[in-house]
């Protein structure tokens, strides 16, 4: 990496995220003055006010410009959605992890604006509208609610901005306006408001970028260094063209995206920020043309992409508090660049830019943006192996998706074949039709907790409150089927509470928080004259995310096996052991933990239960209508929520102690898989991925296991095998020395950890202390040497 990139990257790494009150203050000022009765127009004018008045920042040496805050790592808040309390600011400033600096001036402004937003912010509106049973289940940790602090986002840009500038989109808006049929269409008035709002929002960002052009010109006039002066003039030139007009060059394409990105994430704090999606495919035509015309070298393209990467890293996720911070405790805002996959016509999508991007990922090693391989069976192994070389370095990127499966999932949901092929994955593992779908994640759902409540006949043992329904005293159940039927009823009860809540929250956003700027870029919002948050997109999906199928499956398997099949325990003995958190019954715990068929070992006894849990959740969620003309769907990811959900769940029948984390994603419970990675893959593949909108499988390896070309080959075979079995996603965590130290202290949680010594592999926990120490030392060394 050259000096410029190295410096910009280091600056981005060194800066600590801080809370910027600029947006909150401007937004409050605007709302206090404006009384526009149309929500979309009010929102568009609010964006206009922000874009006219927010600070413009061009950093020294930057080639791609634009910041969401007043300067890098300055993170705005969104009081119209969630107005932080003074205590919240204290927490943000002082918490040990994921803190945001809050200065006195910020505190002063916050104190001033709090009274205005009380009862007006979406968060307040949501909690006002939610029923007592919804609140009780929420507080018990049955589910989380995504929209209480952040707006629905979960969408990814398609190719529109590379074909059309904002001015072209405005023309589309005008055409759509002309077509609104006031005579016959009962929604005509609201369509006109929405479309007018889109046009205002387009103007807002055009003006914002103009200000960048003006600022760059001013800086150029003052600049003494003639090289930098030319760069600034070039920046001004680019800003005078995009995103008002369609980009003509590689550089303009990147800068156009970045301004659209800033518009979207300034308008609202959409979940998963925003994302260019299939960046390699979008950029390839520009790259090819510029290189052919001699306007661009590979090195220049490389540098521009690196500068682009740094822009993402400068924008930490908007600060969250409380449960929402616990469920995704990270600065990452989940922009996830897709690489590879297939083209709209179904052919191999890997191109020169794909490899260029992999080089950038490798070299930049930044938390943001996240990145992934969309691996189709049509993609060459060289692409996969280049990606795995980066994976091996152990900092968590890129993750790997089965592009063929993503297409199958989208087709099953009724998308057209072209829309499916242009889709991909965003956030963590979520499947979507890029540029055409709102796929809103509404909250994580705690499967083991619902089982716990089933085992207590509707009562949450943590609080003693009755929050479920009476499904019978489990001691009276004659067989496993009766237990499972009770679990089904209990699960349906909570899913329905969640869906009732969602149906209100969706309307609150549709009515109070339209997103006219975002709507410009998602087909068919303009054509329909409808907002992104109100069914404007071609496809509208609402997701509930199942958490801890592993822990839930193992718990059900333990009951089936020990209580009903083998009669090693009575239900009463089991419940007493659970309620005492295995105090005085460690023997029972070890029986449950060690002598039970468990998910992750390619054992049909447990895996069939997983399938039944999957079917159950699917049947209760999938296909329910949402309020936007679309349907509910399921996916399986947990981010960091399995830790929070575990912390509210008592001891479980799989031998897990109270308040310990649940299993993550669709991975086996920590330490439950004892037959190696191939067995995990076989078990995980038994879940019907095609009926989900994404699943997440984590695998852990020590660096030595992945050494040399053979290590890469083995990993490639493992990935290809999993994908052949229709797995959706796999990611490899290369284990650090600190994890190994932790495993030494708590072997029960790390039974699955495999290490390689010379030509042999073994479970880490089975090694002697001395040998473990040696491996720890060596692992440390390997990380240092990279």
């Amino acid at each position: 990496m050259n000096d410029r990139v190295a410096r910009l990257r280091q600056e981005s790494l060194d800066l600590k995220p801080w809370l910027s009150m600029e947006r909150a203050a401007l937004m409050t000022e605007f709302y206090q003055r404006s009384a526009d009765p149309s929500a979309p127009i009010r929102r568009a004018r609010a964006l206009q006010y922000l874009m006219e008045n927010k600070t413009i920042f061009i950093g020294d040496g930057e080639l791609i410009v634009g910041e969401r805050g007043p300067s890098p790592k300055g993170t705005p808040s969104f009081p119209e959605l969630c107005c932080h309390s003074m205590e919240d600011l204290e927490v943000l400033d002082t918490r040990e992890k994921i803190s945001y600096g809050v200065d006195d001036e910020a505190r002063r402004i916050q104190k001033e604006i709090i009274p205005y937003w009380r009862g007006r912010s979406i968060r307040d509106l949501i909690f006002d509208e939610m029923s007592e049973e919804w609140k009780a289940a929420y507080e018990a940790g049955i589910y989380t609610e995504f929209m209480e602090q952040r707006a629905p986002g979960h969408t990814v840009l398609g190719d529109v901005i590379y074909r059309k500038g904002l001015l072209d989109l405005k023309k589309d808006v005008e055409r759509s306006l002309e077509g609104v049929d006031l005579l016959n269409d009962p929604q005509a008035h609201s369509k006109r408001q929405e479309l007018r709002a889109m046009a205002i929002a387009a103007d807002a960002v055009i003006r914002f970028v103009e200000r960048y052009a003006e600022h760059a010109t001013r800086l150029a006039e003052q600049e003494k260094n003639c090289v930098r002066r030319d760069e600034l003039l070039e920046i001004a030139k680019v800003c005078r063209h995009v995103p008002a007009h369609a980009p003509r060059t590689f550089r303009e394409a990147l800068q156009a995206y970045w301004f659209v990105h800033l518009g979207v994430v300034t308008e609202l704090n959409t979940w998963d920020s925003f994302c260019p999606g299939r960046l390699d495919q979008h950029l390839e035509p520009f790259y090819r043309k510029d290189v052919a015309e001699g306007k661009l070298t590979r090195e220049q393209a490389h540098e521009l992409l690196q500068c682009f990467w740094i822009k993402f890293n400068n924008q930490p996720a908007p600060p969250k508090v409380g449960v929402t911070a616990a469920e995704s405790g990270t600065y990452t805002d989940f922009a996830n660049i897709n690489n590879g996959g297939m083209k709209a016509d179904g052919s191999d999508g890997v191109n020169d830019v794909s490899y260029l991007i992999l080089d950038v990922i490798d070299e930049m090693r930044l938390l943001q943006p996240s990145s992934n391989l969309q691996l189709s069976k049509k993609n060459p192994d060289s692409f996969l192996k280049r990606g795995l070389e980066i994976v091996r370095k152990g900092w968590g990127q890129p993750s790997i998706f089965n592009a063929d499966m993503v297409v199958e999932e989208l087709l099953r949901q009724g998308k057209s074949i072209e829309d499916a092929r242009c889709g991909g994955t965003s956030g963590c593992v979520e499947t979507g039709a890029f540029g055409k779908e709102a796929y809103i994640l509404t909250g994580y759902f705690n499967l083991p907790k619902v089982l716990e409540i089933t085992l207590h006949n509707g009562i949450d043992p943590r609080s003693g409150k009755k929050i479920g329904i009476e499904t019978g005293d489990p001691r009276t159940f004659a067989n496993y089927d009766e237990l499972f039927a009770a679990f089904r009823k209990q699960l349906r009860h909570f899913v329905e509470i969640k869906v009732r809540g969602n149906n209100i929250i969706e309307r609150l956003y549709a009515e109070h928080m339209p997103a006219p700027f975002l709507s410009l870029f998602v087909d068919d919002c303009i054509a329909r004259g409808k907002d992104y948050n109100d069914g404007g997109p071609r496809y509208n999906s609402t997701y509930i995310m199942a958490v801890a199928p592993g822990t839930c499956t193992d718990s059900l398997a333990a009951i089936k096996f020990h209580v009903f099949d083998k009669k090693n325990l009575t239900m009463d003995e089991l419940l007493r052991a659970l309620n005492s958190n295995f105090k005085d019954s460690e023997k029972t715990r070890l029986l449950l933990w060690n002598k039970t068929p468990k998910f992750g070992n390619d054992d049909d006894y447990a895996d069939d239960i997983l399938k039944s849990v999957f079917d159950l959740f699917y049947d209760e969620v999938n296909g329910r209508p949402n309020t936007k003309g679309g349907t509910y769907r399921v996916n399986y990811l947990s981010t960091t929520c399995h830790v929070y959900f575990g912390s509210v769940t008592g001891a479980t029948p799989d031998g897990r102690k109270a308040w310990e984390p649940h299993s993550d994603g669709i991975s086996p419970a920590q330490g439950a898989d004892r037959k190696g990675p191939t067995a995990v893959i076989k078990s995980a593949a038994k879940l019907d991925h095609a009926r989900t909108g994404g699943t997440l499988l984590n695998q852990k390896f020590t660096p030595k296991l992945l050494e040399g070309p053979e290590g890469i080959d083995n990993l490639a075979h493992l990935v290809r095998s999993y994908f052949k079995l229709d797995g959706h996603h796999i990611q490899f965590n290369v284990v650090t020395a600190s994890v190994l130290c932790e495993a030494q202290k708590h072997p029960e949680k790390h039974r699955d950890l495999i290490v390689r010594v010379a030509g042999y592999s073994d479970y880490f926990c089975d090694l002697t202390k001395a040998l473990q120490d040696e491996i720890i030392a060596r692992t440390e060394q390997q990380f240092f040497s990279q």
Partner: protein, 195 residues
């Protein structure tokens, strides 16, 4: 365990064999101590077109080896010490049968990888390795795996209440292993470390 039960376990991993070009290795103990079972399992695997390797110490009845040799796809054949007396000292048996079995397999042109454990001071001596090298060159065997001594088993012996007789022995240095690797490579051998 029956042949069918074993095959059912093997078939679970067929997708990985297909993808990687891998297969099953029958190992032990000494698989050829149960030659009829091995033969039946070999046939069953071959019906499914699964590649089978036999990992043997070579100290097995000639007849059983002969039957299996015509069926197995690959032999992983241990060769520890070339000197008969030393072999007897360390393993309790002479290497006469082992060497003649290896000769038999070499003549039949069954694919063989000869596996040489590198135990410091025992098998990694210059004399032993040169002897092995000359023998393999004569037999026309060119594929070897070097298996450096390691301490993974240290914890297992006490757990099985067994005496660990190499207590205090350190694994060979990286450098020593590389030198041995180099020498064999220069003679035209295909060498892997570990494997």
């Amino acid at each position: 365990m029956t042949v069918e039960e074993t095959l059912a376990e093997i078939v679970k991993d067929q997708v990985f064999f297909d993808e990687s070009g891998g297969g099953v290795t029958l190992s032990g103990g000494e698989p050829l101590m149960q030659a009829p079972f091995v033969e039946a399992l070999l046939d069953a695997c071959h019906e499914r077109r699964i590649h089978v390797a036999i990992d043997t110490c070579g100290h097995v009845p000639r007849d059983s080896l002969k039957r299996i040799s015509q069926k197995a796809d690959l032999f992983l054949f241990d060769l520890k010490l070339i000197d008969a007396a030393l072999h007897e000292q360390y393993t309790g048996v002479s290497n006469e049968l082992i060497l003649s079995n290896l000769q038999l397999l070499a003549r039949e042109q069954t694919p063989i990888i000869v596996r040489i454990p590198l135990i410091p001071g025992v098998t990694d001596t210059r004399g032993n390795l040169e002897g092995i090298r000359n023998l393999l060159l004569r037999m026309g065997l060119r594929k070897i795996d070097l298996l450096p001594y390691h301490e993974i088993g240290l914890g297992k012996y006490p757990r099985l209440q067994m005496d660990y007789r190499l207590q205090g022995l350190k694994p060979p240095s990286e450098e020593d292993v590389q030198n041995i690797f180099q020498k064999f490579s220069e003679e035209g051998f295909t060498v892997r470390i570990g494997g």
